[in-house]
């Protein structure tokens, strides 16, 4: 059974078609990289999969664990193991990280018929996961993303992913804005969380990240379509040649 199966997905925003027929299948254990020029629709695809509601899905279907994904609310998708690491994580003043994480964790537990987590267990898990992504500062004592540096925000996404242990993680440019050490930490975190049952989609502009998170497939999204899919060597080729040769190929 595939984890995710996207079938001819078309998405319009404010009347403009952004995704023009996406096909993609992801199996447990796989890492897929999606690359592509600015504005090609990568984040749109990620948000559509996570359930952003101001998008108009005009055509196609998405199966997630053999269920109709498009029928589910964002929270339902999350509870079923989907995770979106935002390209631009949102600052939420007044909502503390701790309260936020505890609520998220407990919602998921409730969904799985588990009782709310005890305070001590929660602190323990939080400590563990903080170590995993090497967050040492007291970021968790603050409001969600409020005043976090660009890199801290990205680390915080991976931290949340570690806390929530998703089946399918979609990481939208989690590498941009990270210094080289942070990049290694983030990649390392992702690798440690890999199992044979879960899968990851990494959206990135840089081959660099893919040196650390080795993808099974690399796809190029261009003007709302996946125009090329191949193994990890494609990333290298893109790094060298840019996207122009592909554009020609498509035309």
């Amino acid at each position: 059974m595939s984890l995710l199966k996207i079938n001819d997905l078309r998405v319009a925003i404010e009347g403009k078609e952004i995704l023009k027929g996406i096909n993609l299948e992801i199996n447990p254990g796989e890492v897929h990289a999606i690359m592509g020029p600015n504005g090609s629709g990568k984040s749109t695809l990620a948000s559509a999969l996570a359930g952003r509601d101001n998008f108009n899905i005009t055509h196609g279907s998405v199966q997630y664990l053999d269920e109709d994904l498009l029928d589910m609310s964002p929270e339902e998708r999350a509870k079923k193991g989907m995770f979106l690491g935002f390209q631009y994580p949102v600052e939420i003043p007044g909502v503390s990280m701790v309260n936020f994480l505890k609520t998220a964790l407990n919602e998921k537990r409730k969904y799985n018929n588990l009782p709310p987590i005890s305070a001590s267990d929660f602190l323990k898990i939080m400590r563990e996961k903080k170590e995993l992504v090497e967050i040492h500062s007291n970021l968790t004592n603050r409001s969600v993303n409020e005043g976090f540096s660009g890199g801290e925000k990205k680390k915080n996404e991976i931290f949340q992913m570690a806390m929530l242990e998703p089946r399918l993680a979609i990481l939208d440019e989690t590498d941009s804005g990270l210094d080289i050490d942070a990049l290694k930490i983030v990649a390392n975190g992702v690798n440690k969380l890999r199992t044979k049952d879960n899968a990851t989609i990494v959206i990135t502009h840089y081959q660099r990240l893919l040196d650390y998170i080795i993808p099974d497939f690399v796809h190029v999204l261009y003007k709302g379509r996946i125009v090329k899919s191949s193994g990890k060597e494609l990333a290298m080729e893109l790094e060298e040649k840019g996207y122009d040769w592909l554009k020609e190929e498509v035309v």
Binding site: N54, P74, E75, P89, V90, S143
Partner: protein, 454 residues
């Protein structure tokens, strides 16, 4: 009483009501208190109930507040209320001196254990009779009857309420908790009159909880005068939690002397019609004043907040922060005035009003008023009307937090800025709990009350 009366007709009726009952009203009061009625009557005859022509009342139509039939409470009633029942309304864990006020009259069985003997907490009528000089020095000095018709009306009918006196140098650590209770078998018109005097270098925390214990309509018009002596510290927290049929007009007059620090925070959890007036006079240099408010309104509730900070002397700092969440057909207004006198140089005066409108039909009017005659002044004001942040909502939902809970988190976060200001520890927790309940729609009146009313 007709329900379609104009304000001037209503004002005449109120004057008649006073004239007809003046003997009863004046009987229990001292000559000194009664002497204020003469001026109040004059002022009220002249100005009547405030109309929309008055800047401060531009968005508030008092006709809607005063319509309806009420039975005026002109003398204390004898209730066989069981105190322990009422104490369940008390804030758990919060150790306070509890002052009960029933339908505007001080409950004469209030007992204060371990109250330092130099501190006085008593009924206003009693205080006026005690003739200790403090009462006469302060009563009626700050609630200017020519400034606000509601103050004139209150002074006209004022009989009782709470009197608190903290003498020089006394720091009262334990908060004083005034519980105003409306309890009756008919609709009541209630008048409260309170006086809080904190002399030089004193400190006091006052918490006021307003409750309606019955399902009747109440129209209350209260005046609280607060005097903050030199270098004194006063925290005044008011929590309004009344039934949907209640109308509350709350007028607070704060007078500050040099280097005093006063924070007032009015949390309007629930009510029918609410109008809160806070008038602050910074009468000497070095004062700090914080005037805060947090309000929630849904259904057809209406909440109006008016704050006026008068900087009369240099080097004072004032901060106004009012935040509100409105839903359904609720309406609200905020009107914040900053007045800076010519000599009040080096004034810092700030004002902010943020509102969240959850429905398309909820309405909020917000208006700053600045009157600044000094030239060396730091002043800012700002108002926002918004919805819940959709991006934040989506972010929370992608973490598995359901929409309802996510909205709740965001609303709570919005309110928390005001709640977190409260520095009475257990009170803060209680407010958090009440706000939480309010946001979940589980609150319509004091949750711990067990008094059954029919």
């Amino acid at each position: 009483m007709e329900t379609t009366n104009t304000l001037s007709e209503l004002s005449h009726q109120l004057v008649d009501l006073f004239t007809e009952n003046s003997e009863l009203i004046e009987k229990e009061s001292t000559d000194y208190m009664n002497s204020f009625r003469t001026k109040a009557l004059e002022d009220f005859n002249k100005f009547g109930l405030p109309t929309k022509k008055q800047e401060a009342y531009r968005y508030t139509n008092l006709e809607t507040y005063f319509k309806g039939e009420y039975f005026p409470v002109l003398s204390p009633e004898n209730f066989s209320l069981n105190l322990t029942d009422i104490f369940k309304c008390d804030i758990p864990e919060l150790d306070t001196y509890v002052v009960l006020v029933l339908n505007g009259f001080y409950y004469n069985k209030n007992i204060y254990h371990y109250l330092p003997e130099e501190v006085t907490i008593t009924g206003l009528a009693q205080a006026s009779k005690n003739q200790n000089g403090v009462f006469n020095k302060h009563y009626g000095k700050y609630a200017d009857t020519s400034l606000d018709g509601l103050a004139a009306l209150n002074t006209l009918f004022a009989q009782d309420g709470v009197y608190i006196h903290i003498p020089k140098g006394v720091e009262l650590e334990k908060p004083i908790q005034i519980i105003n209770i409306c309890y009756s078998f008919k609709n009541l018109r209630i008048t409260h009159r309170n006086l809080i005097v904190a002399e030089d270098n004193s400190k006091v925390n006052v918490v006021v909880c307003d409750h309606t214990l019955c399902d009747k309509s109440y129209l209350s018009n209260s005046v609280t005068e607060i005097y903050a002596g030199e270098n004194s510290y006063i925290a005044y927290n008011k929590i309004q939690n009344e039934n949907i049929k209640s109308t509350q007009l709350s007028n607070t007059f704060i007078h500050q002397e040099a280097n005093s620090h006063v924070t007032s925070n009015t949390i309007s959890l629930h009510g029918g019609l609410i109008r809160n007036n806070v008038y602050v006079t910074l009468n000497a240099p070095g004062c700090e004043n914080n005037t805060y408010g947090l309000f929630f309104a849904d259904d057809h509730q209406h909440i109006a907040n008016y704050a006026e900070i008068r900087h009369m002397q240099p080097h004072c700092h004032s901060d106004q922060l009012f935040k509100g969440i409105l839903d359904d057909e609720a309406t609200g207004t905020f009107n914040g005035k900053i007045y800076v006198a010519k000599d009040a140089q080096k004034t810092e005066a700030y004002q902010r009003n943020n509102n969240i409108l959850l429905s398309k039909t909820a309405k909020m009017n917000s208006k700053p008023q600045l009157e600044i005659y000094a030239d060396d002044v730091k002043c800012s004001h700002g108002a926002t009307m918004g919805q819940l942040d959709n991006d934040a909502l989506f972010y929370l939902r992608t973490r598995g937090i359901n929409e309802k809970e996510a909205r709740h988190l965001l609303m709570y976060a919005f309110a928390n800025e005001v709640i977190s200001i409260t520095n009475v520890p257990h009170l803060k927790e209680r407010i958090i709990e009440l706000v939480d309940k309010r946001l979940r729609g589980e609150l319509s009146r004091c949750n711990n009350c067990t008094i059954g009313c029919t």
